[in-house]
Subunit: 327 residues, 2 copies
Amino acid sequence: MDDVARIAKVSKPTVSRVLSGSPLVSADTRERVLAVAREQGYALNRHAQKLRRERANAIAVVLDFGSHRQGAIGDPFIFELLAGISEALSVRDLDLLLSPSGLDTIDGFVDLYQSRGADGFIVLGQGARDALLQKVARKDIPMVVWGAVNEASAYCAVGSDNSLGGRLAGERFLLHDRRRWLFVGSRQHEEIRLRFEGLQEAARKNSDVEIDVLSIESMAFSAIHDQANAYLKTCTVRPDAVFAFSDTAAMAVIGAFSKEGHLTPRDYSLVGYNDIPPAAHFTPSITTIAQQTGVAGALLVEKLMQALDGSRPRSAMLPTQLVTRQT
Amino acid sequence: MDDVARIAKVSKPTVSRVLSGSPLVSADTRERVLAVAREQGYALNRHAQKLRRERANAIAVVLDFGSHRQGAIGDPFIFELLAGISEALSVRDLDLLLSPSGLDTIDGFVDLYQSRGADGFIVLGQGARDALLQKVARKDIPMVVWGAVNEASAYCAVGSDNSLGGRLAGERFLLHDRRRWLFVGSRQHEEIRLRFEGLQEAARKNSDVEIDVLSIESMAFSAIHDQANAYLKTCTVRPDAVFAFSDTAAMAVIGAFSKEGHLTPRDYSLVGYNDIPPAAHFTPSITTIAQQTGVAGALLVEKLMQALDGSRPRSAMLPTQLVTRQT
DNA sequence: GGTTTTTATGAAATGCATTTCAATACAAAG
DNA sequence: CTTTGTATTGAAATGCATTTCATAAAAACC
């Protein structure tokens, strides 16, 4: 930078101002410096900048790849969320640090934050680690979480109205006069538990309804398929309605049940979740609960910006919608 | 760091050595320093470290979200690749910078590299920007690309054997005595063009075969659906074999064609690409070409490490496989 | 014309960890 | 009891840009 300054016949601070877009330089000085910088092939060192400015200009996005890999049930959904976040961060000129290692303990979070590796965190899906996130929030580390929204929680969460999603599914079942419902999903996951509760709520409107639960252990596609198949073979009464925690899971159920001659929509109603593109084109096309993916990423980033500014952003819930199709 | 040094009664370099895991400190000094650091809540500043070490310890992963968003045809495939890369980088303690902005021009690459924002680049899918990547490679910027493998190319590419994929599809069509093939995909994309060439190659084995092409403009699911539907309505002879560039596209085709009463496997054979989980459970289940996602991410990272070490890694091609199902 | 305000620029201090080189202490070898 | 080698440790130099504060110059105001 000294060199550029010398050649352009200005001082170092001026070069710095030009290169970081400060408005405190005259137009022609700017021109001159820019020209010299370009011709000398000079690029300022980002780390020196970050060191001096005492901020990373980067956000860590935490993602549990484990549960989305290799045939695991990770609807393209999370990917879309990620795309939205990436874009929103880009606009604000912030780097996106994807799933840095070590974030499975509170110390990992604190260390990354303190060492200025990231200015804030966006966690995608609280999954089964709510306790950890509560701790992080209590350390006053800027963070927003995509997932279940709980007002009692110490952190700011943005998520779909999972309970509404469950209710919508239940109401559809009632409309079709279904009475023996099956819920497919792991209630370990806060989000999924809320969907279950919504379903229960809808069930209360009719005293005849019974809900059974097929608790999912492995997220692998074929595992769900097999579990569903085994369930159907051993259950006393076959379900006439199924609410699956994802469209992909719904597809697995359709396959597993059809092998036993149990067909949708003839024998049972089925509602999935996420409204992934193939859901509309599956045979039969899958009725599902749609989340507002588009807005979600941008909203998460916006909330995080508020947190970075020192305020405590409020959690927000995005509406969910029933998309009616064949099943 | 000075404080920690003082309290632990050692010098700054010693603290540095302890904290960065150098073996040049005695065991009890290490203990002592570590204890003080912990109790003082000290974390070293990553940017100071990166500044001094003159490397970012970060890899930029470039991803064209645009073509994978909002119902666009981005099979979970890319996501799995990303997961693999993330893991491989984690192991090597490298940060993953996801799709930093500005990488649509050569200057963007050079700037990010020179300013030490990233030590290297992994580009996922060369798409229609091969020319840009060639330029990047010629600037001696460490980079590996997932996509079409071309020995004449200036950069190291890792990809599936797309041409083989095409051939496998063609051979299956021949086996089923299909003669009027339809290729669905955009040949602007190098990878997809190679698949087409493989298909052509197979076609040459039988002089009766004719290949038509449905060139895809928009990657949106419904756009493909509509294009396929329009095609079927206007074509003179209906295809009896379809090779689609992705499983999701294949699903779109199945839907579009079935509306016109053109059914698979009865009226035409269909081969998709990527073997995404739902492909196996779709009705009918989709015959497809599988790529080795698992290995891919790790291999990309490995090659990039070689490039960082100054050597010029050789491109590599992963085998593809035909997964036979109903269609 | 003199004074106040604004605009443009520079000197020096600051953010923080690593590395080279030299020095010391200690053990092993002769 | 030297000599040589090894293991630890420290002083000082280095990597690089930003910011505060001050100054000079130019513009605006009375």
